[in-house]
Amino acid sequence: MLIEGIYLDGKTAKRQGARLEINNDHKITHIHLTEQQQILSFERQYYAIEPRLGNTSREISFEDDQLFVCDHCDEIDKLRSWQTSHLSSRNSWLYYLENNLKLICLSTIFTVIFLYGIVAFGIPHTARIMAHNVPYFTSERLVSSLDVLDKTVFKASKLSPQRQQEIRNLVSPYLLNHESVNPKLVFRSGMKANALALPNGVIVFTDDFVNLTQSNDELISILFHELGHLKHKHMTQRIIQDAMLTIIVVFLTGDVETFDLLTGLPTLLLDLAYSREFETEADTYALTLLGKHNISLRSFADAMTNLENYYIHEGVGESSTTMSEFFSTHPKTSKRIKLVEGFEN
């Protein structure tokens, strides 16, 4: 049997028209170079037939980098099937998989469901277990703590020492209740109205935020929310989740080079979805705690409304479209207030 193709000797880039000769024992014996009228002998030579891949040319490589290329896929497949090495059968199995429409549909559905499971349950669950088992000193080191924020964003608080002491006295019994997370309240300015919890237990209230609240109960309800973040180790969880997400995306797209806008956007959206879930979890924690201490749940809703009005006034208010929620780190205020109402009943 003769197969038409191209021969490249591996020493120069010259391509030569060639015919591959296969004898009756299904072994490659010669390559005939058609223009040079030359016959190269390949008896007893080792050769490797590259596995079939899509519509690409078929290649057979011989010793000393010699290469035969052709487009006659079926003949080459026959040649491969005559060779009984298990390696070749494995690779044609791959080609079979890739061209079986039923299998493709099934594996698409399987992959989509599997990935959904991983993203929706696997990653959050693993992150939760890992976060609660990371030793305390590493979770403190994992995230830039207060020092870094002090150098970059924060300025010293302008609240009067009396007011600061007042709030400290107000919250100290609740902080004592949470000794396991080692909470510590500090006041800073330099940022708009905000309260945040750092993984090492530091809770920051900004001046604008303190001035915005209209009652002590509101301050306490937000403190509970931040304690919820600490108790659930949300910061640590989020870092672990982001790392796992990145690894999965790199696995799926095959390499880091495609890690651009196309893959970056879904990663960002998922990260934000995780963040909103944490906020709801912290809200729930705060509401439960308020109930336990017989503080009105309304105070939490009031604090939320105050914050929203403040941000709308500052010109960074969220527009009320559903689209914008996907791009937000926090759930919509109306949703959070609904959660309060759900608790009240």
Binding site: A13, L53, G54, N55, T56, N99, I104, L261, L262
Partner: protein, 343 residues
């Protein structure tokens, strides 16, 4: 679509490479076909808990190299999945070791970071050499031979000077990096060359800055006239950002390829802003609608467009190239190159 399915018969075109000609690059892959390969890769990677990913990478790369044609011949990707698997295991082991040291002996981890800092240029050279050696065209492999000192300059010193001069020398850093990569690369025994100037790069940077300034000032001006414009300003900023990205890809790619030559053969590139923007927008839209399932087809569409804009102006036959001497690189060297794959 069908023109890609049936490549012209290989035998009839031996004379095409003679004399002065402009040869086009052509990517003959197909989105649906690559999707099937991609989804099977993912399935097997999941079922083997990630071990198959080395084979998946090779199959993906082989698909893209083998479908890339210059004139009548295709490129080839030659790496062995086992090498890649070993490389990944080494990288994983190194990462775990680094974290363990970080937890139990934080003082040493700072030392390790410094050692890694000085090893990165070395790893970078190894990695590029690996990628080039694993790529071939017309059965001749590419090569790369860079020096540690130059790599150190390109990775650390030039970018740092760029930052210290508030960006004035940054175009130069980019130029130096491309020069380093190209001039140390070869096809067989023939070296590539790169001829671009600081001015070429500077103009692109200045234009990008200009787009940003004019766009920013315009939207600021409109806001002053009509405050309700604030409502759509995020959209304007996203559009501006997108335009900047597309502009940079188009100009830097065109500059890169038109500065690139191999002996007397010169490359050329004519990417267009509108065409590339269209490709990216379609890809982005379809990928979002299909929850990522369009990703492989998007990659094919992108590759097809970029290849269609590339040309090689030849001076003489492409048959004259000869292979470089065989390199016997120790197994570990090869795997290290793969483990720290920066390219």
């Amino acid at each position: 679509m069908n023109q890609y399915r049936d490549p012209p018969p290989l035998e009839n075109s031996t004379n095409l490479t003679q004399g002065h000609k402009s040869l086009g690059f052509d990517f003959r892959g197909d989105g649906m076909e690559y999707f099937k390969i991609w989804i099977v890769n993912i399935l097997l990677t999941i079922l083997t808990l990630g071990i198959y990913s080395a084979w998946a990478t090779v199959r993906n790369k082989r698909y893209f190299y083998s479908n890339l044609y210059l004139d009548t011949d295709n490129f080839r990707y030659l790496a062995d999945p086992i090498t890649i698997l070993k490389g990944r295991l080494i990288a994983l082991a190194a990462l775990i070791a680094y974290y363990v040291v970080g937890v139990f002996a934080p003082i040493f981890s700072a030392g390790l970071a410094i050692i890694l800092f000085f090893f990165i240029p070395f790893f970078f050279n190894r990695s590029v050499a690996f990628t080039n050696r694993m790529s071939s065209y017309k059965n001749i492999q590419f090569r790369f031979k860079g020096s540690y000192g130059q790599a150190f300059m390109v990775i650390y010193i030039w970018p740092m000077l760029g930052i210290l001069t508030l960006g004035i020398l940054y175009p130069l850093a980019l130029l130096k990096a491309n020069e380093y990569y190209v001039r140390n690369s070869s096809y067989g025994t023939s070296h590539f060359d790169f001829k671009a100037t600081y001015k070429d790069y500077g103009i692109i940077f200045l234009t990008a800055l200009g787009i940003l300034l004019i766009g920013g000032l315009l939207s600021y001006g409109v806001t002053q006239l009509d405050p309700s414009f604030v409502m759509i300003s995020p959209i304007v900023f996203i559009a501006l950002y997108f335009a900047l990205i597309v502009y940079s890809i188009v100009s830097f790619s065109n500059l890169y390829y038109s500065s690139l030559s191999l002996v007397d053969h010169k490359f050329d590139s004519s990417l267009k802003f509108s065409a590339l923007a269209k490709v990216i927008l379609i890809n982005l839209l379809l990928t979002i609608i299909t929850f990522g399932l369009y990703l492989p087809a998007a990659k094919v569409r992108m590759t097809k467009y970029i290849c269609s804009a590339l040309l090689l102006h030849t001076a003489g036959s492409l048959d004259e190239f000869s292979a470089a001497e065989k390199q016997n690189i120790g197994a570990l060297g090869e795997e290290l190159g793969q483990a720290f794959d920066f390219t």
